[in-house]
């Protein structure tokens, strides 16, 4: 019995392509996966009671030496990762494999630890039958708790699970596909990413640049001091508070953006939102030149601004004339000495600039 149930996406058509492997044991096209119901009904026995059984666990524990400047990486599939720091010069890895299915499933999940000079790489790997492809992520998870020396660099990846790191002072990259990324006191954060989930960054002070992105969820940064900050999201809010940076790049499609922080002298701040409201709550800002544009959103400032104060405008009246003639949705203005640059663009969202 061949089941073909095409999932139709807007703009993407998922079509049941003939399976490359001609395997007679297939009684469904395993590449089309619609949900638990179909899977369990078409594969009798193997995953019966998958969600009903008691939780089976297996523990894993390893300590590996790593230099103070070592690099640690962890690639997980399903399950959470928590990284904290401790003294010494070794990495301490504790993992718990979990399943509600059969205990034998646990043995098919391997935790491999690859230990080379100055590097420790840990991976979760599933032995898998071709037939399992659609379901491998759904019934065994591995939760990791790792302690590293504070000066080590870490690279953390999960597919379905959250990633959390605190106090790592080497460079940090953390990403997951479905899950949250929570990072605290990671001064050399380079990138924090998720597809479906929240990113929360707190207590970070760095001389460098940091990047965070999500597709669907939220991005929050609190108590962050960096040279450059880049934040991008498709749907969800971006909320940045108690932040100091010299350069900001924010991009959002559907979701609000709020920046509560300072404007540094001669800094450059760019915010681009399609439909969300952009709110800037500025604490003792340095002077800036504002270039705000929206197609249909309104622009409002509670700070005293000099309209058309930029020297490139031929005269104040020209600027005003241009604004009235086109629409009332653009503002070029100067605050203070106009040393920094604020570029805020939305399509339909409102732009609000206020003092905190």
């Amino acid at each position: 019995m061949r089941v073909t149930a095409p999932i139709v996406f807007a703009g993407l058509a998922l079509v049941a392509a003939p399976a490359a492997a001609q395997d007679h044991d297939h009684d469904q096209d395993h590449r089309i996966v619609l949900g638990d119901i179909i899977r369990t009904s078409l594969k009798p026995g193997a995953y019966q009671g998958r969600n009903n059984g008691p939780e089976q666990t297996e523990h894993f524990s390893r300590k590996v030496k790593i230099g103070r400047d070592g690099r640690f990486s962890l690639s997980n599939i399903a399950g959470d990762i928590v990284v904290t720091t401790g003294g010494g010069d070794e990495v301490s890895i504790d993992a718990v494999k979990k399943t509600r299915g059969d205990k034998s499933e646990l043995a098919r999940v391997q935790i491999t630890v690859d230990d080379r000079a100055g590097r420790v790489d840990v991976r979760t790997e599933y032995d898998q039958d071709r037939r399992d492809r659609g379901s491998r992520t759904n019934h065994v998870s591995v939760d990791y708790t790792v302690t590293v020396p504070a000066s080590v660099s870490v690279d953390l990846h999960s597919i379905s699970g959250s990633v959390k790191a605190t106090g790592v002072h080497g460079s940090v990259r953390a990403d997951t596909i479905s899950g949250n990324v929570t990072l605290t006191d990671v001064p050399k954060l380079e990138a924090a990413k998720t597809v479906s989930g929240d990113v929360l960054l707190t207590g970070i002070t760095t001389d460098g640049d940091l990047t965070a992105s999500s597709v669907s969820g939220s991005l929050r940064a609190k108590g962050v001091k960096a040279r450059g900050i880049d934040l991008g999201i498709i749907s969800g809010d971006i909320n940045v508070s108690d932040v100091t940076c010299e350069r900001l790049g924010v991009k959002s499609v559907s979701g609000n953006v709020e920046y509560a922080g300072t404007i540094a002298k001669s800094g450059r701040y760019e915010i681009n939102a399609h439909s969300g409201t952009v709110r800037l709550l500025l604490t003792n800002p340095a002077g800036f030149e504002l270039n705000a544009n929206s197609f249909s959103g309104s622009i409002r400032s509670e700070l005293p601004l000099t309209i058309g104060g930029d020297s490139s405008a031929r005269s104040g009246s020209t600027v005003r004339g241009r604004r009235d003639a086109v629409n009332s949705h653009s503002m070029r203005a100067t605050y203070g000495d106009g040393s920094a640059t604020l570029v805020v663009r939305t399509f339909s969202g409102d732009i609000i600039i206020a003092k905190r």
Binding site: S266, R268, S311, D337, G338, S339, T341
Partner: protein, 172 residues
């Protein structure tokens, strides 16, 4: 050199090392030639991708960094040229700022960021000449070759750029 061999073999880690060593230089050049950080970033991407594809043909007659810089420069020039062709070369807007009179005295020395931002405002044509001559340090003969213009034109473009910059910077 080991790094070269590894890059030529397609070793991505080695290529990352190459990137780390040279990206700032290339990015800076790209931003200034293109006139914005956004365009500079796109150019940076294209340049290194091209470098990845072409590293096989690097023969070691110069340092790898020099080869990379040359590739970047060619790419930036090509980009600028195609953009100018697309735009049908806008004539300069009448600019009262390009006066030959000395501008008002400036109290503070030119701040780095102010100059960078002022450079982004330079019109096409004179910006590239300025970047290549005053920033990158090519002489007028080389600038002329790179941009496909006469040496005298290079001089007058650089001069025009300097005057405009002076005007932008003293308005603050």
């Amino acid at each position: 050199m080991d790094l070269v061999a590894r890059c030529q073999a397609g070793d991505v880690e080695a290529f990352e090392t190459l990137y780390r060593q040279h990206s700032a230089r290339i990015y800076t050049l790209a931003c200034r030639m293109a006139g914005s950080a956004e365009d500079g970033e796109d150019l940076l991407q294209e340049i290194f991708l091209q470098a990845y594809r072409k590293v096989g043909s690097f023969k070691g007659q110069s340092a790898l960094g020099t080869w990379l810089y040359r590739l970047a420069l060619n790419h930036c020039l090509d980009y600028v040229r195609s953009r100018q062709a697309k735009m049908n070369k806008l004539t300069d807007t009448i600019d009262a700022e390009t006066s030959f009179e000395p501008a008002a005295r400036r109290e503070t020395p030119i701040a780095r960021l102010d100059l960078e931002r002022a450079m982004e405002r330079l019109p096409e044509g004179c910006r590239e000449a300025f970047v290549l001559h005053d920033v990158e340090g090519f002489d007028h003969k080389e600038v002329a070759e790179l941009l496909g213009i006469a040496e005298g034109t290079s001089k007058s473009q650089v001069f025009k750029a300097r005057l405009k910059l002076r005007a932008y910077l003293t308005k603050r």
